[in-house]
């Protein structure tokens, strides 16, 4: 079947339009981050201008951005690691022993509006003095990461042939050893997919952190948001901050595109 020339041209044009429409906000953010306030406020040359690094310098110098980056990284890495520790064995047992009711219970966490948890968490964490600690943030972010890791890993483990385990058992391994020494080492791609998404979700999380983080543990999204509440918006600095927060996840997504796509759609279709 050969599409006609005219049709192919329209398809190309539409594809180009899709590319522009979905890529444009990123281009705009990047451009504005290198503009001075007066360049942003003027409606003259939108694409051609003399770039300035002043916005980036001021973000790091005047505001404690390195600390916010560190906070965000710590919380995202911590919650992902702990979710893996709890989630991998659970997903494996659910997949192999068909404990799907249990799996469903954990997945409900994805359906429930996160804000339903916030008031009780806030009260509880206040009582035990955990507000403004990494512990509170990591625990709350785990409720997003853990169900996702379990969700992705159940379908990954189910796709593994059972012969691998049987041969391990014949060789004298216990089930526990089979999981640790055989299953986990060959599960790299699944674990990478699950970890990346869990990390990204935690890095992006706003709602839980805005209540549970304080001055000491403020994460990047909160810092960038607070940045805005001055009388006149400093657009250049704001866009530089937006670039700084988005860059790590964009790099992760670009480098591991295959994993991220398969993770996002695997979790979806299996659900």
């Amino acid at each position: 079947m050969k599409p006609k020339k005219g049709l192919r041209f329209i398809q190309m044009l539409l594809t180009f339009l899709v590319l522009i429409a979905f890529g444009f906000p990123f281009v705009w953010m990047l451009l504005a981050s290198f503009k001075t306030q007066s360049q942003i406020l003027s409606t003259g040359d939108m694409f051609i201008f003399k770039p300035t690094f002043h916005n980036y310098v001021s973000v790091f110098k005047e505001y404690d951005f390195l600390k916010f980056i560190w906070n965000s990284f710590l919380v995202a890495a911590g919650s992902t690691l702990l979710s893996l520790v709890l989630g991998l064995p659970a997903a494996y047992a659910i997949a192999r022993h068909h404990l799907h009711k249990l799996g469903l219970l954990i997945l409900v966490a994805r359906i429930i509006p996160g804000i339903t948890f916030l008031i009780p968490w806030f009260i509880l964490f206040s009582k035990i003095h955990l507000v403004d600690t990494y512990t509170a943030l990591i625990l709350s972010h785990m409720l997003v990461g853990l169900p996702f890791i379990i969700w992705i890993m159940i379908s990954f483990f189910e796709a593994l042939p059972t012969e691998i385990e049987e041969s391990g058992l014949i060789d004298g391994c216990t089930h526990h050893q089979v999981f640790l020494r055989i299953i986990l080492p060959i599960s790299g791609p699944g674990v990478i997919t699950a970890s990346l998404l869990s990390f990204i979700f935690s890095w992006n999380n706003f709602m839980f952190s805005v209540i549970l983080a304080g001055d000491k543990t403020k994460t990047l999204p909160i810092a960038v948001f607070n940045f805005m509440s001055y009388s006149e918006i400093n657009w250049g600095a704001l866009m530089a901050a937006a670039c700084i927060i988005t860059l790590p996840v964009l790099i992760i997504a670009l480098v591991s595109q295959r994993y991220v796509v398969s993770g996002l759609s695997a979790g979806a279709v299996k659900g």
Binding site: Q11, L19, F117, L118, P120, F225, A241, T246, L250, A253
Partner: protein, 294 residues
Amino acid sequence: MQYSWFNRNLKWIYTLPAVIFVLLMMLFPIIYTFRISFYEWSMSATTPPLFVGLSNYIALFKDERFWHATGSTFYFTIMALGLEVILGIAIALLLSREFKGKNIVKTVFLLPMVATPVAMGLVWMLIYEPTIGVANMMLKSMGLQPLLWLASPNQVIPSLVIVDVWQWTPMIALIIMAGLATLPTDPYEAADVDGATAWRKFVSITLPLLKPTIIVAAMLRLIDVLKTFDIIYATTQGGPNFASETLNLYGYVLGFQYFKLGMASSLLVIFFALVMGLTLFMIWMRKRLEGTSS
């Protein structure tokens, strides 16, 4: 084979930590929220929670702001979901053919989904800015009237819908592309023999075969659109004049700005029931549709 206690109970040792964590972090808060919804409490140390029965719920039902938020939630959800499904199918069909640079297009297309929502909210604020924003410059260059976008009570929800569509249409398109890749080829060959047009093939073959995939994608989006928080809070905080205040936002404001914890909890119980109810309804619909199509 002699099994130790550890290995005999392995499946519970593997699952219990995760289950206990989820129960503690999820079930306890839900029960607590439900309980608090019958109390009046502002979290002050001097006044303990006071049992008031259903009066929080009654107060909510008499509260105009609550009904407005419910309306906004549905308005936003229906518009965003509808556009995302239609555009998602169209873009999936467009991108599923082979062409040069397909990977680049797919990669760019993936980025809105993973980009930090708060940062994206700020970028869209700059784009929508009435005097310096590029959105109005484009309108003007096309000879159209500039809009107020986020600053106008009438335009704010459609403007936010555009942001949501930008961010999440890619997810629907990706799921549908995965579905398209698994479609059988024979019906298309048969249709070619019959000389069917491309549109006819889409309506009578592609769409019916894709129905289960479309429903799954729409269901996942429905659950998340209803809960949209980051983008709305980062750009408008529910304004101007409460015009973009959804249930999620009003619950947040009641709880953490007014400290009416009881009333906030009763709103969250209603919101929770709404999301769960719609989800269960979608699951039931999907089962019924799958039952009739197979």
